[in-house]
Amino acid sequence: MKFTEEHEWLRVEGDEVVVGITAHAAEQLGDVVFIELPDEGTEVVKDDEVVVIESVKAASDILAPLDGEITEVNAVLVEEPSKVNDDPEGEAWFFKMKVEDLSVLDDLLDEAAYKAFIS
């Protein structure tokens, strides 16, 4: 698993990258009550605002961690946003994306580096 300084995690599955937010981010956000996901097939550029996530406290944006195409979204989160608090690094992934070259993930934080970043 790889991490960004925007508190996203990325996991490679075949030729796709699965993206979600970290347990640390979910805890900081508090109870999640609303999620807006992008359309499948959307072409995104790194740092595009792709997901809106609202907790009881505030609204935040999730940025695209890489350039690529959104291939699948986890629509169940729209009905059950609280899953983000229950299982942020497992069941509550946000979207899958296809990127041209998976080696761009090498530049992201590994788990130890992310832990150091948030501590």
Binding site: D31, V33, F34, E36, V52, E54, V56, K57, A59
Partner: protein, 374 residues
């Protein structure tokens, strides 16, 4: 947070795992380990304990209690003279243009009047009271007492274990009650829409009392986050958001809080700042009015969301003044000020959320049934 003040319960909040944030010049708990959602739901299901010691507790005394009551009546549009001993009422300071300077609770405690005001306004309120009422009335801001609120359907049984007298109190009664070995001033009131009590306790005894209440299985500590969602669902105004110095009580839909005796034609009509505008709006109707708002989708409409009559018009007809997710409603809820013509229940409006016009209906307040013991 070095310039921030702390309440007498600060160490207890930290020990309970609270997340502390700056609020109105104080370091206050925004939530504890349960989190806003569970704290909110617990308060509606059982009982919640809130530290509201940042609020201003003010004692007004005069040689004759009637002088203090008459003095307060000159500053607020409420019936103070007619408030019986051991009773409390909700009110607000108005300004010369009929806007609201702060809202407050005032109680007739026999030989003195006891007033509770918002933390952010307390210094201004005390200065206002002193300028208007001294020397006939002495105005004392109490620095040596904490203020706790115990709210929820189990509040009565919990507090009655400490003194049975509190079970006999009705909504808005006030009494002096010994609790945890200290002289407490208790009112049966609160700002959550639930039954409950507000307890003024000497600062030195506050932590012991809070711990004793929290020791009960039904009681959880509740932070400012859930306090806000609870009062929003209850349709209660938050000063500086749903009302301000430009908003009249009529626009804020607080006409109910102006007793008949102070209204046009009443025995003691007028005589408070801004009476002209307030009476005119009561007669002719205000140009805009605070209403409940129920977004039809799942997206919360937060404070500042502009409201429109349809999906395309350029000119907004209102604005959200408080909004978020209502845990007990299970959906987003909001309040806002809208043009009077758009203020009737069921009117469909559109809120601009991130550039999209989303449907929102004018809704009846409160969003949850009140639990007051009348």
């Amino acid at each position: 947070m070095s310039d921030l003040k702390r309440t007498p319960l600060y160490d207890l909040h930290v020990a309970l795992g609270a997340k502390m944030v700056p609020f109105a010049g104080y370091e206050m708990p925004v939530q504890y380990s349960l989190g806003v959602m569970k704290e909110h739901l617990h308060c509606r299901a059982a009982a919640g304990l809130f530290d509201v010691s940042h609020m201003g507790q003010v004692v007004l005394r005069a040689s004759d209690p009637q002088i203090a009551k008459a003095g307060i009546e000159r500053l607020i549009p409420q019936d103070v003279m007619g408030l019986e001993e051991d009773r409390q009422r909700y009110g607000f300071f108005t300004n010369d243009t009929g806007g609201i300077e702060d809202d407050l609770m005032f109680a007739n405690r026999g030989d003195h009047m006891f007033v509770v005001v918002n933390a952010a306004c307390k210094d201004a309120d005390v200065a206002h009271l002193r300028a208007a009422l001294e020397p006939d009335v002495t105005v004392k801001l109490l620095e040596n007492r904490a203020l706790l609120a115990l709210q929820g359907p189990k509040a009565e049984t919990v507090l009655a274990e400490h003194h049975p007298m509190v079970a006999e109190m009705r909504f808005m009664d006030v009494a002096t009650v010994p609790l945890a070995g200290a002289e407490c001033w208790v009112s049966r009131s609160g700002y959550t829409g639930e039954d409950g009590y507000e307890i003024s306790v000497p600062a030195a005894a506050a932590t012991d009392l809070a711990k004793a209440l929290l020791a009960h299985d039904d009681v959880e500590a509740i932070g400012l986050g859930a306090r806000d969602s609870l009062r929003l669902e209850a349709g209660l105004c938050l000063y500086g958001h749903d009302m301000d110095p430009k908003t009249s009580p009529i626009e804020a839909s607080l006409t109910w809080a102006i007793q008949k005796t102070r209204r046009a034609g009443g025995a003691r009509a007028g005589g408070f700042p801004g009476a002209d505008r307030i009476f005119q709006e009561m007669a002719d109707g205000p140009a805009r009015r605070r209403v409940g708002l129920k977004p039809e989708g799942r997206a919360p409409m937060r404070e500042g969301t502009m409201l429109y009559a349809d999906e395309s018009s350029d000119a907004p007809i209102g604005i959200v003044t408080s909004g978020g997710f209502g845990p007990s409603v299970g959906a987003p809820v909001a309040m806002g000020t809208v043009d009077a013509a758009m203020a009737s229940e069921g009117t469909l409006l559109f809120g601009d959320v991130r550039g999209k016009r989303l449907p929102v209906a004018v809704a009846k307040l409160p969003f949850v049934a009140p639990g007051f013991k009348r």
